[in-house]
């Protein structure tokens, strides 16, 4: 292992010392460690505690109903929906890195691909429970399926919520499959290196008998490619459809054709931010600075900056169409958004999502860890505020002044949100502990190409 103490943008994607064998050994060793290091426990225990809070919050929710939340009339949607959108955006960002950049055959993607996919998986898990919890009668969620029944009742095709339900189902299932498909050869490597019988068995079962034969590699390569080709549009569709959940309604502040791309831009931004927040500590803690280098940080920061600019464009267009459209209620709602009770929400989102990322225009700051962490945390909070603004401030100013209202989350709203954070972090930490944290087979392919292609050394 080598590399400078502080990341630099002119680092190569992989340091030359990293060989196929050393990489596989190191990554497998991480997964096969006898004991988890102290830092892992320090991170895992509070995460698990938060995840348990989610269990409590959900249990009480099922017992007492959604009335324990802050939702009211007219703000019928609150934390559940906005956190759902927030999480699904985080998950989507992971998919974009792992699927879209796979199709584009980008070298820097390979080492952080697994982290991005784990983020996608657990982000989707955190998001996926919300639509169920959100229902007034969650035990009837299966009514959104098309299933034959004696009353010949079907779900209602015209509802964006139905599209969303199906898009989410598709997305969650294909995310799991995509993650798992990429994992199979690495699980086989771990199986081969495992020293205890239990581990050999477990990794063996999940490796599905992958033994590295030429046919297996050929099939795997093709399957993974096809899945990536499916995932890339799916991730755009899931977020567009989440946007349609809002745009499909005639509700003040939602009824805008801009929403589908707007939501995809948001997904990009939050996805890149969370990947950075995961990569930055993990590359140090797992001693992987020679394969997750300053170059990676630099690229991710550039992407984050780009998505921030896209989002800024969306914000501007949102304001423009409000006044261009000339609807009274829209205008009133927008004025309240920028100057009313929820002022910190709107301007917080603007500052954190649009202004702060502009720091990353400066090359030095793109590898300056404290700045990156600050910007990324800002984006994570900012994106949540943006969803708060979309969901809550739109709903609290309907066309009739007599039905204007207010909204605040209750303890149980926050408990559920923090609980899903716990679920996400616990999942990430468990995957870091037990699953090869880098896609070894793809890295080996990359190293093989490096030996022939000098361009892979990274920018001069």
């Amino acid at each position: 292992m080598s590399g400078p103490a502080a990341p630099r943008s002119d680092e190569p994607v992989i340091y030359p010392e990293v060989s196929m064998a050393s990489l596989t050994d190191r990554v497998c060793a991480l997964a096969l460690r006898e004991r988890a290091p102290l830092w892992w426990w320090i991170a895992f225990v509070p995460s698990l505690a938060l995840a348990l809070l989610l269990v409590v919050a959900t249990g009480y929710l099922f017992y007492a109903g959604v009335g324990i939340w802050g939702i009211d009339w007219p703000v019928m949607w609150g934390f559940a929906i906005l956190s759902y959108v927030w999480w699904i955006a985080i998950a989507s960002g992971g998919t974009i890195i792992s699927a879209l950049f796979f199709l584009m055959d980008v070298d820097w993607r390979t080492s952080i691909n697994r982290i991005a996919e784990s983020m996608m998986l657990f982000g989707a898990a955190a998001a996926g429970i919300y639509p169920i919890l959100h229902l007034g009668r969650p035990w009837l969620a299966y009514w959104l399926f098309f299933y034959p029944n004696t009353m010949t009742l079907w779900a209602q095709f015209r509802s964006p919520l139905l599209w969303d339900f199906w898009a989410l189902m598709t997305y969650v299932f294909s995310s799991v499959l995509f993650w798992y498909m990429g994992l199979i050869p690495d699980l086989a490597s771990a199986r081969d290196r495992a020293t205890t019988r239990t581990r050999q068995r477990l990794y063996g079962i999940f490796a599905c008998g992958f033994r590295g034969s030429r046919d297996q590699w050929r099939h795997h390569r093709a399957t993974y490619g096809v899945m990536a080709a499916i995932m890339a549009p799916v991730v755009v569709s899931i977020h567009s459809i989440v946007g349609l959940d809002f745009a499909g309604g005639a509700t003040t502040g939602w009824h805008s054709t801009e929403f589908p791309p707007f939501f995809v831009f948001g997904a990009l931004l939050s996805g890149f931010a969370i990947v950075l927040l995961l990569v930055i500590p993990l590359r140090r803690l797992l001693a992987l600075t020679d394969i997750m280098t300053g170059r990676h940080l630099d690229v991710l920061c550039k992407l984050l900056l780009m998505s921030s600019l896209l989002l800024t464009y969306a914000y501007l267009m949102d304001a423009f169409t409000t006044f261009y459209g000339g609807d009274r209620a829209e205008r009133e709602m927008f004025m309240v958004r920028v100057a009313g009770a929820y002022v910190p929400v709107y301007w917080g989102a603007i500052v954190l999502n649009c202004v702060l990322p502009q720091l990353l225009w400066i090359r030095k700051l793109r590898t300056c860890v404290p700045v990156i962490v600050l910007v990324c945390l800002g984006v994570v909070v900012g994106m949540w505020l943006e969803r708060y603004e979309i969901v809550v401030t739109s709903l609290h100013r309907p066309p009739l002044p007599s039905s204007w209202g207010n909204y605040h989350g209750t303890f149980w709203d926050w408990a559920t949100l923090l609980g899903t954070v716990g679920l996400f972090l616990s999942g990430i930490l468990l995957s870091v502990r037990f699953v090869p944290v880098v896609s070894m087979h793809e890295m080996r392919a990359l190293i093989a190409r490096r030996n022939t292609d000098k361009n892979l050394e990274g920018p001069r």
Binding site: W143, L162, P398, S402
Partner: protein, 972 residues
């Protein structure tokens, strides 16, 4: 079954019991928890005798109360006229402050489930106010007391009878010295006859009639003007120019429902031949002021000056009228001119809270305006007090009690411990009365302080009679056997006369036997069936105005601050405080629920740095009360309004502890001060933003008569563009609604009617604070203009049943769909609770069961409307256009093989002004189809393209062109 082997010598009653069958024992344990224990344990001789003794005792106790025993025949054969699932209707009356409002109680399978107006009754005309409709919950109130108690300890009726027998003897010896009878206002002939019999039997006894919301001033005013107590009945349908000084015509007047109907009949220029013009001059906003053409905000002292000015402007010989004429504001001159031009078609009305001198002056002005027999009539007083020599005011009674002159106090359905002014000291004196008997429905403040507390039957559980504002009498017939036992006032009074008094039914029959004469049976039956005794309305009197009428100098005392004590629009004087419907009924103007903050003017709020919910200390003389304040647009700055009836201490589990009790401050002329004190109170208003906005025209359209005359279609929607694809509902009927905003007076009758009809839950103050109220029908109140004197508008809003309903599109499970007759129906069973429909509804008429509200209702299951589903937690609900009533009409039409006929929704049914019309739009002759032809017809938020089936008729006001519609008159 296990082998039959009863234990030797044991007694058994069935084979299962003898066999000690475990299934039987389990069933018995479920049904009679005590029985299993006794079955399992053996029974010895001592225990048997003990039980036999107990059984004998219980039999004796049960035997004591034989009031209805004779009637209790099991319904082996179905009683005639009761068809399962079909309703029966029985007429009776709701008596409030002594005055009757005719009602019809709807029964299903013999249980009352709803109260509706009685179309035959002059004080109802088929409509009802909120109090009468909410009687359903008062009747089923679980907090009603069940048994007699003495000194707080339960006892039985026989003990009371014994005690009263002793008292009778003692009182007879002293000719009733020390006996006092305290009642509310009494218009009942039968009750009055009993009380008069009692006063005759005990000539030294005294009778006090006490109403906290007193009509003493109008009475004294009438005496000043006409020399004898008379009532004035207005004919608002004949009034072209109405000037109301602090009017109660539409809110607390005993004839309010009738007046509202007459008033509304002159307010829609598209229908009424000529539109009336209404000037409301008031210190605190009233319903009439809210819908008047001119609202002049003036302080209490200024009101008197305005009256004086009116007198000088209108009376041929004003010389004798008090002070020199004050300066004349431009609006005042214009108004006087208007009145003068409308001779014989003008009326000046003064509210009951104004001093008697003002009433006398108003009578004089009205006579001078030549309205007698046209705009008003004079009739004999409907609720006369006791004969002079035996009458006593509550203040004097309190003094007598304090001085120990009262040996025996009988309180019939009155609560002076709560309602008497603190300065009179009634509450402190009550314990000094050696023998006091309080008849009340629950152990309220007075009843729990009296020696004897006798539970009173609800008015639906006994016979009685009562008179309406115009003198018409109604016989009140019981609607059910007493739910909790108890006695009626007739029964209790009877026990003061003899040991074996006649029943209430016999007493009422005796009263009316005189009236009906030989034809008693038929007359009695028809009076019960129609709910009015024919020929009992008081004839108009030919009593002349006294020459001295209205020339008493008005004693204008200008105070820096005055407190106006007014009836709570939902709780009256507090007697309805335990009624959850009424507690949670948004007050017409403030939309507050469960609370009664002090209403203050915006200017006063500014001066004292007070905002909504801030606490302030209101001091009158030696008494003070800390209350939250509410800034009330259109309130005069030199007074504050305290609504009576909240802050109850012993109303019951619902009514206790909500709001502030202002009664201790009443009855005092001392200086009033108001100071801000630290702290805030959470006030629940269903109008979450108290804003003054220029109401956007797409929501509520309004204009002036001049505008209407120039262009009758001034408020109409733009012509609709052709639609690319539209599916017309194929059904035979097309249901629709039209709401005349000119007629809406914001009285809330529809809101309560809807709540009763549709089993709408009450959610409680904390849930209203969380913005989760459930009313399907809300009345939006809009202001325009300055906060000091705004114009206000009411707009009832319920589901619009859009033809292009946005809610239907977004429901993922199709729980809200369109039916063939254009109804937007909500399928509760299918709802999973995504709540997208509510988000997507521009009118926000959908309500969500955030919690299991229906389960938390403090009412027994039999009180729900059996035709309407009770909604569970997690389900969306909304107005259905009373689908159950439509279904009933469809069934009838199917049965008779004819097209579906007229359907009345509950809100339409209850509306005193007939603002709401509902029916089949496909039938061009239907009233709703005709109303939709009105040039004033418009759809709310038409630009949303929802094509609502409910449309409104725009508000047209008829202001005097020369003066502003609203202004604050501060000159004094």
């Amino acid at each position: 079954m296990p082998p039959l082997s009863p234990a030797a010598g044991s007694l058994w009653r069935s084979l299962e019991e003898a066999a000690r069958d475990p299934a039987f024992l389990a069933r018995a344990a479920q049904e009679f928890p005590g029985l299993t224990a006794s079955l399992e344990s053996g029974m010895d001789r001592r225990q048997l005798i003990r039980l036999m003794g107990a059984a004998l005792m219980m039999a004796a106790v049960a035997g004591c109360d034989s009031r209805f025993g004779a009637d209790l025949v099991p319904a082996v054969r179905m009683p005639p006229n009761i068809i399962p699932a079909l309703p029966n209707f029985y007429a009776t009356a709701h008596v409030l402050g002594g005055y009757a409002f005719g009602v019809v109680v709807k029964h299903v399978m013999g249980r009352p489930v709803q109260v509706q107006g009685n179309p035959h009754h002059p004080a109802s005309l088929g409509a009802l106010d909120v109090f009468a409709q909410a009687q359903l919950l008062d009747f089923y109130d679980p907090d009603r007391a069940a048994g007699v108690s003495v000194g707080g300890e339960p006892t039985d009726r026989q003990a009371l009878e014994t005690a009263l027998r002793d008292q009778r003897a003692q009182l007879a010896a002293k000719h009733g010295a020390g006996l006092r009878v305290l009642t509310g206002t009494v218009t009942s002939h039968t009750l009055r006859a009993r009380i008069e019999a009692l006063l005759a039997q005990y000539p030294n006894a005294r009778w006090t009639q006490w109403e906290p919301l007193s009509r003493a001033a109008p009475r004294r005013g009438a005496v000043l003007a006409y020399g004898r107590p008379v009532d004035v009945v207005a004919h608002l349908d004949a009034v072209d120019v109405l000037v109301s000084i602090d009017a109660d015509l539409l809110s607390t007047n005993p004839g309010r429902l009738h007046y509202a109907r007459d008033f509304a009949g002159r307010r829609n220029p598209a229908r009424a031949g000529s539109m009336s013009r209404v000037y409301a001059i008031e210190s605190t906003p009233t319903l009439l002021g809210s819908v008047a053409d001119h609202r002049i905000v003036a302080g209490p002292a200024r009101l008197q000056q305005i009256m004086t000015a009116l007198a000088h402007g209108l009376l041929p010989d004003p010389g004798a009228v008090s002070d020199p004429p004050p300066e004349r504001a431009a609006w005042l001159l214009a108004m006087i001119e208007d009145l003068r031009n409308a001779r014989g078609r003008a009326l000046v009305h003064v509210g009951a809270d104004q001093p008697a001198e003002l009433h006398a002056l108003a009578h004089r002005i009205n006579e001078a305006l030549g309205g007698r027999g046209k705009t008003f009539d004079v009739i004999d007083e409907v609720a006369p007090p006791a004969a002079q020599e035996q009458a006593q005011t509550l203040e004097d009674l309190s003094a007598d009690m304090r001085d120990g002159k009262v040996a025996h106090l009988l309180i019939l359905d009155s609560n002076p411990t709560l309602t008497a002014p603190a300065v009179w000291g009634f509450a402190d004196a009550l314990p000094r009365v050696p023998f006091s008997v309080a008849l009340a429905r629950s152990a309220d403040e007075t009843a729990s302080a009296a020696t004897w507390f006798v539970p009173q039957t609800h008015a639906w559980e006994t016979w009685s009679d009562a008179r309406a504002y115009d003198g018409s009498a109604t016989i009140l017939q019981p609607q059910a056997l007493p739910l909790y036992g108890g006695m009626s006032a007739h029964d209790l009074l009877g026990l003061y006369l003899t040991q074996e008094p006649t029943t209430a039914e016999e007493a009422v029959q005796a009263t009316w036997r005189l009236h009906f004469g030989a034809d008693f049976a038929a007359g009695w039956r028809s009076a019960l069936a129609t709910g009015v005794v024919p020929g009992t309305a008081s004839p108009s009197l030919d009593v002349p105005l006294l020459p001295t009428a209205g020339i008493e100098p008005l004693s204008v005392t200008v105070q820096k601050l005055t407190v106006l004590f007014r009836a709570d629009p939902s709780l009256w004087d507090g007697r309805y405080a335990n009624n959850p419907w009424l507690q949670e009924l948004p007050r017409p103007l403030t939309k507050l629920v469960w609370d009664n903050p002090l209403l203050i003017a915006p200017k006063l709020a500014q001066a004292l740095l007070l905002a909504n919910g801030d606490l302030a200390r209101l001091t009158v003389g030696d008494h003070s009360v800390v209350a939250p304040v509410w800034v009330m647009p259109g309130h005069a700055p030199d007074c504050v309004t305290a609504l009576l009836g909240s802050g109850r201490r012993a109303a019951g589990s619902i009514g206790n502890g909500h709001g502030v009790d202002f009664y201790p401050l009443t009855g005092s002329a001392d200086t009033v001060t108001l100071h801000k004190v630290p702290g805030r109170a959470a006030l629940a208003s269903t109008e979450h933003h108290n804003l003054l906005l220029e109401t956007p025209a797409e929501i509520l359209r309004h204009g002036t008569l001049a505008q209407f005359t120039a262009d009758p279609h001034f408020a109409a929607n733009a012509p609709t563009e052709p639609h690319l694809y539209r599916k017309e509902p194929p059904g035979p009927a097309a249901w629709g609604m039209s709401i005349d905003l000119n007629a809406c007076i914001g009285c809330n009758a529809c809101t309560i009617a809807c709540q009763a009809e549709n089993n709408i839950a009450v959610v409680g103050k904390d849930q209203v604070l969380a913005q989760r109220e459930m009313h399907w029908l809300r009345i939006d109140r809009y202001y325009s203009g300055e906060a000091e004197a705004p114009e206000s508008f009411f707009q009832p809003v319920m589901c619009m049943h859009c033809e292009e309903a946005p809610c239907e599109l977004v429901c993922p499970v199709g729980a809200t769909v369109h039916d063939a007759e254009g109804l937007n129906v909500m399928v509760y069973n299918r709802c999973v609770g995504t709540r997208f429909c509510s988000n997507n509804c521009p009118y926000k008429v959908r309500r969500f069961n955030f919690k299991g509200y229906a389960r938390q209702q403090p009412r027994p299951p039999q009180s729900w409307n059996p035709d309407v589903t009770v909604r569970a937690r997690g389900v969306m609900e909304k107005c259905t256009y009373c689908l159950q009533r439509i279904a009933e009409a469809r069934i009838e039409a199917d049965r008779d093989n004819r097209p579906v006929g007229a359907v009345q929704t509950a809100c339409q049914n209850a509306c005193p002004t007939q603002a709401i019309t509902f029916g089949n739009l496909n039938d061009p002759a239907s009233p709703v189809a005709q109303r939709k032809q009105s040039p004033l017809n418009f759809a709310m938020l038409e630009s949303q393209g929802t094509r609502p089936r409910t449309t409104y008729e725009a508000v047209v006001r008829n202001p005097h062109p020369a003066i502003p519609a609203t202004l604050l008159d501060e000159s004094s």
